[in-house]
């Protein structure tokens, strides 16, 4: 079996202790392969965001193991973990989190420069990433001169620039209208079809429906999952 882009093994996260103890996640296991988009759905407080922060190495589990590209995050020191997080994982948030003083191409090139690339090479990578999401014409624009949908496309380019093969999306369409939100999902889907692994946290069924699998969280427990090994029978459509 090939290496999973992301694997959660029996991950639990407890905040606080004693009577105020809160179980954000309880024994959650999840595997996401390259080229796969997995949506995580659940009401607020169900553990969706905890799952994403643990997957991205921004938080550590109380029990269990998180593997990114086959490397268990808990075996790494702080510096190595930060490096893996920076070089292997891309994040997309509801608020696009672009740096206002930098142009689109500079925003996308920044993580590559932090990877240690020379500025000219980082810029080339950034232009390639912008082209991959269809917004190379926005390269010289500043975030304030872009629409929400355009900023989110640039944020996606930043998340997949260079060698990043895992993209974590936290309600990426939350601030966008329906059509623009759909465009963003189309883009994420295309990146995944090109080999990136994606985890999409959303409360909108229509956006989750772009995923290969949808998992449901309730009170920190994964209660159900759709879309695995589904037969290709659609609407009883016939070929006649």
């Amino acid at each position: 079996m090939s290496t999973a882009a992301l694997e959660l093994r029996e991950v639990s996260r407890v905040h606080g202790s004693g009577p105020t103890e809160v179980h954000a996640l309880r024994g959650v296991s999840l595997r996401v392969d390259p080229g796969e988009l997995v949506a995580v759905m659940g009401p607020s407080g169900s553990g969706k965001s905890s799952l994403l922060t643990l997957a991205g190495g921004l938080d550590r589990p109380t029990a269990g193991s998180v593997l990114v590209d086959g490397t268990a995050l808990e075996t790494l020191g702080q510096a190595a973990r930060a490096r893996l997080r920076r070089t292997s994982v891309g994040y997309v948030f509801q608020s696009y989190n672009l740096i206002p003083a930098l142009t689109a191409v500079e925003n996308v090139a920044l993580p590559r420069e932090l990877d240690g690339r020379r500025p000219a090479a980082a810029r080339r990578d950034a232009l390639a990433a912008l082209a991959a999401v269809g917004v190379e014409d926005l390269a010289r624009r500043f975030p304030d001169d872009m629409s929400g949908g355009q900023q989110q496309r640039v944020a996606i380019a930043r998340a997949v620039v260079g060698e990043r093969r895992l993209i974590l999306l936290d309600e990426p369409t939350g601030a966008l209208d329906t059509d623009t939100g759909e465009e963003v999902l189309r883009l994420v889907r295309a990146r995944c079809d090109a080999g990136v692994a994606g985890v999409l946290v959303t409360h909108e069924a229509r956006h989750a429906a772009w995923a290969d699998r949808v998992v449901f969280l309730r009170d920190g427990v994964m209660v159900d999952e759709t879309g695995r090994d589904r037969p290709d029978v659609l609407l009883g459509r016939t070929t006649s």
Partner: protein, 193 residues
């Protein structure tokens, strides 16, 4: 569903025979509501009886061709000008099932809701895949794409309603048992008792 009006509206575009009408109908609706040709011919003979179409005779290849009449055109115009009636909501098996489930002891409503949500989102995944194919085609098929949108919106509304039901049942359970602090247990409908 008004197959009758849909076929009549298609006949307004010019004379057709049964198989052509079926093909025209299904091209627009993507075989979401498959028609058999017997149903088409039954509908056509009723339309003829009501004076809305005339049988024109054979097209030379054994097909009975129909042409719309002036009263048929008036009927089509009237159809487009009045809204589809919603006074009698269609029977909704899911709403009925949940209405019954919450009143019967021992039914795990949380599971009933989750199973439905999972099935509906699976359907939504199928519709979304079909939509990607349709919208990504060289010449996107607007009619079929809009029918798919309708299915997407319908499924989405159902999921939202299920989320709403779940939240309300949980609130109800908490109110009924204020000393109960474990939220995991309140998903079971037994907490409703």
């Amino acid at each position: 569903m008004s197959v009758r009006h849909a076929l009549l509206a298609l006949l307004e575009q010019g004379p057709r025979y049964g198989y052509q009408l079926r093909a025209d109908f299904e091209a627009r609706t993507g075989t979401t509501w498959p028609l058999n040709v017997g149903q088409v011919y039954t509908t056509l003979s009723r339309l003829e009886r009501d004076g809305l179409v005339d049988a024109e005779g054979d097209d030379g290849e054994g097909h009975q061709v129909y042409r719309i009449t002036p009263s048929g055109r008036a009927e089509v115009a009237a159809w487009f000008s009045r809204p589809v009636a919603r006074t009698q909501p269609p029977r909704d098996e899911l709403a009925i099932k949940l209405a019954i489930a919450v009143t019967i002891p021992g039914i795990d409503v949380g599971t009933v809701i989750q199973q439905q949500r999972s099935a509906t989102i699976s359907a939504l995944q199928d519709y979304t895949r079909l939509k990607r194919d349709v919208d990504g085609a060289d010449r996107p098929d607007l009619a079929w794409s809009l029918v798919l949108d309708s299915l997407v919106f319908g499924a989405e509304a159902e999921v939202r309603w299920l989320d709403h039901c779940e939240a309300r049942i949980r609130r109800h359970a908490r109110a009924a048992r204020p000393d109960e602090t474990s939220p995991a247990e309140s998903t079971t409908p037994k907490a409703l008792r």
